[in-house]
């Protein structure tokens, strides 16, 4: 599979939010404002590429040769937590305007399932190095597309009155369902 195909597949046809249900908590909580959603999406994309690459090396060159695959979860999540913390410090110091956009989301990102999931899928699907980079970038991008689209939809919700008992979260879930249905349409695209 060419790299472009991996990016497209992970961003659109197998969108990580809408087909694998990953990163739903922030997807529902932060899609209230478009700016916040875009900031979170950007943060996720940046972090997922960096952490997955680091985890690729950790897995291939440390864990597998030493037969320590069973420690993968804990190594992955520790490196994610560490990298997120380091990124926060760096971005705050050198890119203060960027920090104001997604700085507060960085600590939340550690527990965003997307980040860990991409590292785990990377292991399961046995990607090469560049495949890993492409896959992580595509996944981050796909999640960003999904959350910004959702934020755009929710903006219009302000003018309508959905079923009362559905609540704010409920209607977001219905919207996610409709989006997932729409994304199913892309399925044939890359067959």
């Amino acid at each position: 599979m060419s790299l472009a195909l991996i990016v497209l597949a992970s961003a659109i046809t197998n969108n990580i939010a809408l087909t694998y249900f990953l990163g739903m908590c922030p997807f529902i909580a932060i899609s209230k404002s478009l700016r916040g959603a875009a900031g979170m999406g950007l943060a996720v994309t940046v972090v997922v590429v960096i952490t997955t690459t680091v985890n690729y090396f950790a897995y291939r060159f440390v864990l597998v040769p030493l037969r320590l695959e069973f420690l993968a979860f804990v190594v992955f999540i520790m490196s994610i937590a560490g990298i997120v913390q380091m990124l926060e410090i760096l971005v705050e110091r050198y890119f203060p305007s960027l920090y104001s956009i997604f700085g507060i989301f960085l600590p939340l990102i550690t527990v965003n399932c997307v980040i860990l999931a991409v590292s785990l899928f990377m292991v399961l699907r046995e990607y090469t190095f560049w495949g890993t980079v492409a896959y992580s970038f595509g996944s981050g991008l796909g999640w960003m597309i999904a959350i910004t689209a959702m934020a755009g939809l929710r903006k219009h919700l302000a003018f309508s009155s959905p079923v009362k008992n559905l609540g704010d979260a409920g209607i977001t879930i219905v919207l996610a369902g409709l989006m997932a249905l729409a994304f199913l349409g892309f399925q044939g695209m890359l067959a």
């Binding site: 320590l68 420690l71 804990v74 937590a81 560490g82 110091r93």
Partner: protein, 361 residues
Amino acid sequence: MTAFVIPLVVMNGIAVIIFALIMLLKTFVASYGSCQLVVNGSKTFTVQGGTYLNKALFENKVYLPSACGGKGTCGFCKVQVTEGIPDPLPVEEILINYKDIRQGFRLSCQTKLRSDISIEIPEELLSIREYRGVIRSSDYVTRDIKRIGIHIDEPKDGLDFKSGQYLMFKVGEGETRGYSIASTERRQDEVQIEVKLIPNGLGSSYLHSLAEGDELTFFGPYGQFYLRDTSHKVICVAGGVGLAPMKPIIFETLLKYPDRDVELYYGVRTFEDLYDHDMFLRLQANHPRFHYFPTLEKLEETVASTYAFTQGFVNKTLAANLTDGDKSEAYLCGPPLMINSSIKELVEKGVPEIRILYDKF
């Protein structure tokens, strides 16, 4: 044996590397030196860069109100930044309106000091201090409201407040909750509050659990809800435990202003929820300028009192008894529903909206 040694080495290696990198970044990248913090153009503090504004102010004994403990959810700690305005964070955009954001209003708990900064805060906040006290009494006045008397130990010159203001009590790590001062007698070294127990409420359950002799820390006094120095008639409208801030207001008016009338409209659900009833009846008998109108939402026949209560909501009593609306000013404290309906009634009676002060909870 190797089955244990290799993973131990690897895992600890990873942990130490991550730790070392974070510490290196913290010391070399996240150090902003020291910054100048100017408050209201008059006070200048030198603070460690990288700390949050609210913490820096706290360390320099400037106490801003806060209910969320610096999580950026209550919006009480808003200040205006005049120089060195930072970019607004998404949290701030939720709690502060667009116009204020542009004028430099920021949440002090979300603003990190990275360079010199000048801020403007209401002058009266500068007089807010930290107090330490010991509980002298804690008694139930109704089945769920406790009156807590506190003796102030620190600072020695005690508390000076305007009638109607509130104090922020430390109720947990980084958590504070506000309660109105309910003292009837003005003393520098004593203060009373009244706390209604709210199931699972952090502040009320903490304060209810304290006993005589327990220590308390609080800040204050806060609030724009206080008795104005005018010659208008004073109308107090209280619902439930909203009676607390009315007591200083009533007593100050009666003592300080020989020609201002005071009317208290006090609404509770049942007779059991009513407190200080006898005190107000006595006060009414002794002071021709004080009028007391208690209202019960539910009137039971077995009530052990000879008083003829009005039944219904406070606004009903207001409608029936209030005169000279245009020469009055009103102080309201209670649940939002009661306040909204009472304000409507007050405006109808001719009280100018600008002279209606309220405190919803």
